[in-house]
């Protein structure tokens, strides 16, 4: 809407050449006035040069044609089906007829994407069992009758909206055509009005297309109440999963500390005690024991570092996701290729989640997959809203599943906890591909929505 028309000069550039210093004072008022007029004109006629209104008009025009096709096909199919109900053949046609209606309305739903709106399907009752049960559940499903109702309603709504969208254009064209045909009797006021309308027409087209998609969404899109209830359910499940993942994580850390570091520290203590006992009687043996203690100490410190890094990778803060991911695979016994291709920085939370996904996934591969080679890719998935896609692939034995309490369940919980999506494809025998898509919250709007408030 606010796109600058191509003929508007870039701001700050001045017409005329040279001697600006001397003339600027005289021109200031006039130029400022000129510039604001130019600005106003740019604002008013700007939409005319944007693509949106062309697409919107096209969307509405196709809508009229499609509404007609849908109606005719539906009417014929319904008439045939219900006309033949009493000779049993009609009963067989019920399911295909409603499926046809569903397919056609779903095309209309998907068309809303032309003007940037995504309309998700309103779920129909699932059809299971024999053809008789399928037929019964189809014919008694209010959602399917709602789709049929849409076909009828859209036959009226689509042309009306199209008419609203084209009316300003028709007026403009008629006025211009008349002025061209009859140069003598040009009504200046009429012409001026037509020019003004040139700014209005694209706005009306875009707004009308918006109305049309809103109508489609209301009719064919999910019921907001049901959607909300589902969302609440999902959130509750996710919360439980996160809590479980956190508990599992704590157990893992506790075990790592107790079974790893603590044992090593005690072993060091034993070595030192034995060294102390030999200090005077057998200094050489004591020195050897102290050396052994020092080696164990090195390993304990190393283990502490691993545990600490598992909690939060310092390199993530210092050098970014790419470096952090490289440091995960650096210690891997098998080759793991890392490819990070992002157009911009990630917020800390998203980077930490991405790091966690890769860290757990690669740990899982090393533990279970028996793979020869693996790869990690992090790329942009979509813009507006921005999402990134993490793909971790290995050629191991497959059969991985996100069972409760497993590392993969931890990944799922973490990813779904930030409203991302997670899927794993791991047939027995491999290969395994894990894909996580993470939304990237805009930095400015992230704060009020976050759980920290």
């Amino acid at each position: 809407m606010t796109a600058t028309p191509p003929w508007a000069p870039p701001e700050g550039r001045q017409f005329g050449t040279g001697k600006r210093d001397t003339v600027r004072v005289d021109r200031t008022d006039g130029e400022a006035g000129l510039r604001s007029v130019r600005k106003a004109l740019g604002w008013w006629f700007g939409p005319l040069f944007a693509r949106e209104h062309v697409i919107a008009s096209w969307y509405l025009a196709v809508g009229v044609a499609w509404s007609l096709v849908m109606f005719v096909v539906t009417a014929v199919a319904m008439a045939t089906t219900f006309g033949l109900v009493f000779v049993a053949v009609g009963l067989l046609l019920v399911v295909p007829t409603f499926s046809l209606v569903e397919a056609m309305t779903s095309v209309e739903r998907h068309r809303a994407a032309w003007v940037g709106r995504v309309v998700v399907a309103r779920p129909c009752r699932s059809r299971t069992g024999g053809w008789w049960r399928a037929m019964l559940s189809t014919v008694t499903d209010p959602e399917r009758w709602r789709q049929a109702g849409f076909v009828v309603a859209f036959l009226i709504v689509a042309p009306v909206l199209f008419a609203v969208a084209v009316t300003p254009w028709v007026i403009v064209i008629v006025v211009f055509a008349r002025s061209l045909a009859d140069l003598g009797g040009v009504d200046l006021l009429e012409l001026l009005l037509a020019f003004v309308l040139l700014g209005v027409a694209p706005r009306i087209a875009t707004a009308t297309a918006g109305l049309s998609t809103a109508f489609v969404a209301w009719f064919l899109g999910p019921d907001p109440a049901v959607e909300l209830a589902g969302r609440v359910e999902t959130l509750a499940a996710q919360r439980a999963e996160i809590l479980e993942a956190v508990a599992a994580e704590r157990r893992r850390i506790e075990r790592n500390l107790h079974d790893g570091v603590q044992q090593q520290l005690v072993a060091i203590g034993i070595d030192m005690g034995r060294a102390q006992a030999r200090l005077t009687s057998d200094p050489a043996a004591a020195a050897e024991l102290l050396e052994a203690a020092r080696e164990t100490l090195h390993s304990a410190i190393g283990e502490m570092r691993v545990i600490g890094r598992g909690l939060h990778p310092a390199v993530l803060d210092d050098r970014g996701l790419d470096a952090a991911l490289s440091s995960i695979v650096a210690t891997s016994p098998i080759p793991i290729a890392v490819d990070v291709d992002l157009s911009g920085d990630l917020p800390d939370d998203t980077a930490a989640t991405a790091w966690y996904v890769v860290s757990e996934a690669t740990a899982n591969i090393l533990k279970h997959a028996n793979a020869r080679v693996a790869s990690v890719r992090v790329v942009e998935d979509s813009t507006a809203p921005r999402t990134i896609r993490i793909t971790v692939h290995d050629d191991g034995c497959g059969g991985a599943a996100a069972m409760r309490g497993s590392g993969l369940a931890g990944i799922r919980a973490r990813v779904e906890g930030v409203d991302g999506s997670f899927r794993i494809d791991s047939p027995p025998g491999g290969p395994t591909t894990l894909v996580a898509v993470l939304p990237v919250p805009a930095v400015s709007s992230a704060a009020p929505e976050g759980p920290r408030s």
Binding site: H258, L265, V266, G269, G273, R274, A277
Partner: protein
């Protein structure tokens, strides 16, 4: 079963090879004969049955579940081989089984936190003491089970007779057994026990648990 200083035979069970090797060498330095060193509870029970050691040193957490295999094995050893002393080494206190282990006959039973191994001389002394039929109960263990630290001063409040009764309780004697040993009536023993519970601040505990706690206090305060 009661070995003199030179002739103690020990079995050790710990799944951490590092720690197990360290303890084995530590015991061998002290002249204790380690007849078997194993990594899980089943092997422990088998080697105890085969070698009839004087003492078994048992880690609480062992495969497969890494929870309380060791202490369950320790309880089992006490049941099947009463002559084998048991010293449990733990990263932390497993209250339920600790109480079970220390609730019966306490001769030759020890429960120490693993950290104590670091004080090598004290640790060896504890091994010798338990192998000889004595006790080694970590004050930390007692305080975690009782919820407060066991203090010798608490025992000072007891009369000599009550102390004697408590000592017999720690040997696993029933009230009737204590009455026989001291040649007093059962009622008198019960009165002594009730008094010493009060003095040890155990009035509010359940009766069965209370007995274990009193014994624990006794064991912890007099190593």
């Amino acid at each position: 079963m009661i070995g003199d200083a030179g002739g103690i035979r020990a079995v050790i069970a710990d799944d951490s090879v590092l720690l197990r090797d360290g303890v084995v060498r530590l015991l061998e330095d002290a002249g204790i004969d380690v007849v078997a060193a194993v990594g899980d509870a089943d092997s422990l029970l088998r080697s105890v049955a085969e070698t009839s050691p004087d003492i078994a040193l048992v880690d609480v957490r062992m495969p497969p579940t890494h929870t309380d295999e060791g202490i369950r094995a320790a309880v089992e050893i006490r049941r099947a081989h009463p002559g084998v002393a048991v010293l449990v080494l733990s990263q932390y206190v497993e209250e339920r089984y600790a109480a079970e282990l220390l609730g019966g006959e306490t001769a030759g039973v020890g429960y120490l936190l693993k950290d104590r191994v670091v004080d090598t001389e004290d640790f060896i002394a504890a091994v010798r003491r338990v192998a000889a039929g004595g006790n080694a109960v970590d004050a930390e263990v007692v305080s975690q089970i009782i919820g407060r630290s066991a203090r010798a001063s608490e025992l000072d409040r007891l009369t000599p007779r009550e102390l004697e009764v408590l000592g017999l309780m720690a040997q696993g004697l029933s009230n009737g057994g204590i009455a026989d040993r001291l040649v007093v009536s059962l009622g008198a023993v019960e009165k002594h026990i009730s008094n010493l519970f009060t003095k040890l601040d155990l009035d509010h505990e359940q009766s069965a648990h209370r007995r274990v706690l009193a014994v624990l206090t006794y064991l912890a305060a007099r190593p």
